[in-house]
Amino acid sequence: MEQPLSSTPPSSASTAASTLVRHFPVEVRDAFDRFRAGRSPADADIVVLAVVNDHMPNKVAGATATPIDPTRLIEDLGFDSIAITEMVFFLEDLFQVRIANEEILRVRTVGELRSFLREKLGASAPTSRA
């Protein structure tokens, strides 16, 4: 099972976050590095889309290979509630944010997830532990 390093102390959070993206393609890892340096929403988008792709349970035939904004997480990509929970846990560790149940319950599509995280990361940027 996947093990985000949620117990990692702040001093090593940067290393832990890099560890979390170790299995992503190099362009995603580069985008993550750029995001941490510059907080660009475009770079965050690249990472978020990769995370969505990575957490699809691979169950629904014809699931979209590259998620686009209107794509629905549950109906189109085959996410179940535990996959969404797992993805939220991963995003929390990756971006060092906290996401409440009521926040994620409002997210239904890939586009809504992107927008939500842009807002979340913008708000948390100055005090990020990363």
């Binding site: 099972m1 996947e2 093990q3 985000p4 949620s6 117990s7 102390p9 299995h23 957490h55 699809m56 349970p57 691979n58 169950k59 535990i82 996959a83 929970t85 797992e86 846990f89 929390e92």
Partner: protein, 423 residues
């Protein structure tokens, strides 16, 4: 009892082989699966050997880092919520289904059930609890329960294979998968199910092993091939192993109708407890003797019908002695002297999965016509005087086998397996 049950499929990820052919060869040649290992990179740990799982790399808590044979192809949803022994179990189940000529679609109509046994995953539990404390309880991994607690095998396998019949897990330490197999037989006999998958599995790592070292139950013999020596006078404890075994049990007429390969008949089972000690077996093997008697009665066979006893003997001083005395108490009065051996001399002791793994070995022995020997038995314990222990593998075809298992708390479970067809 009109409905009978037969073994129609086997799958193995074990210390002595990761497929039936390799396991069979290891049983015939007594090739040991035990290797030298250093736990926690600490040379001071006195336990130096284990029944290791080859071809798999599962040290990381993350499934992304795992390596396993390319012939297995599992989707993300099957991997996200399993411990290492969940991976072994899926591989063993894939083998068993192929062996039995079954598709996943054959398992979903409610007539197939699944009984599993494992101790859960101590290493993942440790990690998750550590994470919980580090965040003072504010965060936790969403998979921490389903991937780690005892029951993880039945949760994950039932979901993966769409099984809608009886699904449960059994927790009786080293007797667990024997309970699973016995209860599966009952469900088939009672007409509740026509097919049962019985799966036992265990992790093999420091967390799964060293608790037994704390009990002083493990061998400290550093020579891998000689450390596990059931019934031998020089035994000094057991050698832990892990892996997974899947055994498919089917109602006889159902198996016949679909032309399934039949290894053997599971003719009966019995269980009885010692009521004596939390960890130590009864010194005279009282509960095990009762379990043997009940299994023989259930299978409607006499002691003289048994020609091979697959012993539980794990290579501990107390347990092996108790089992020897239990066997004597059942067989000696009638003058019968079945051949006896424990395969743990080559496998080590895979804890919860021992019972189903050894029932699977018995099934192979019945079909292929041999009796596995007892590795490292040089001079038998005096408690074994009068018993017919097999040091080497015998090319003798057994007809009725007794398979013994014992676990903590004095749980004892025995199966009787019969060659099929009988003549």
């Amino acid at each position: 009892m009109s409905r009978r049950a037969v073994v129609t499929g086997l799958g193995f990820i074990t210390s002595i082989g990761n497929d039936r052919a390799t396991v069979t060869e290891s049983l015939r040649t007594l090739r040991s699966g035990i290797e030298t290992i250093e736990f926690l990179k600490n040379p001071a740990i006195t336990v130096k050997v284990a029944g290791t799982i080859k071809e798999f790399v599962t040290e990381s808590p993350s499934w992304r880092d795992w390596r396993y044979p390319e012939r297995y192809d599992f989707p993300r949803e099957a991997l996200r919520s399993i411990p290492p022994h969940g991976l072994y179990a899926m591989c063993a189940t894939e083998q068993a289904l192929l062996d039995a000529g079954l598709q996943r679609s054959d398992l979903t109509d409610g007539t197939t059930g699944l009984y599993c046994a494992s101790a859960g995953s101590p290493s993942l539990t440790h990690l998750h609890v550590q994470q919980m404390h580090a965040t003072r309880g504010e965060r936790g991994n969403p998979m921490s329960v389903v991937a780690a607690i005892a029951g993880t095998l039945n949760f994950n396998l039932a979901a993966r294979y769409g099984i809608r019949g009886a699904v449960s897990g059994f927790v009786a330490a080293c007797a667990s998968s024997s309970h699973a197999l016995g209860c599966a037989l009952d469900d088939i006999r009672l007409g509740r199910q026509t097919r049962m998958l019985i799966v036992g599995g265990e992790d093999l790592n420091a967390e799964s092993v060293l608790g037994f070292a704390a009990m002083r139950a493990l061998s400290t013999n550093p020579t891998a091939a000689q450390a596990s020596r059931p019934f031998d006078r020089e035994r000094d404890g057991f050698v832990v192993s892990g892996g997974a075994t899947c055994l498919i049990l089917e109602e006889l007429e159902t198996a016949r109708r679909r032309g399934a390969p039949i290894y053997a008949e599971l003719a009966g089972w019995g269980q009885a407890a010692d009521g004596y000690n939390v960890a130590v077996s009864h010194p005279e093997g009282l509960g095990l003797a009762d379990a043997i008697q009940r299994a023989l009665a259930d299978a409607q066979v006499k002691p003289c019908d048994i020609d091979y006893v697959s012993a539980h003997a794990t290579s501990t001083a107390t347990g092996d002695r108790s089992e020897a005395l239990a066997i004597k108490s059942v067989f000696s009065p009638s003058g019968s002297r079945p051949t006896i051996s424990s395969t743990k001399g080559i496998t080590g002791h895979p804890l919860s999965m021992a019972g189903v793994m050894e029932a699977a070995f018995c099934s192979i022995a019945l079909r292929d016509g041999f009796i596995p020997g007892n590795k490292n038995l040089v001079v038998a314990d005096e408690a074994c005087d009068g018993l017919n222990l097999a040091q080497e593998t015998m090319e003798t075809a057994p007809t009725v086998i007794l398979n013994n298992t014992s676990g903590f708390g004095g749980s004892n479970v025995c199966h009787v397996l019969r060659r099929f067809p009988a003549e």
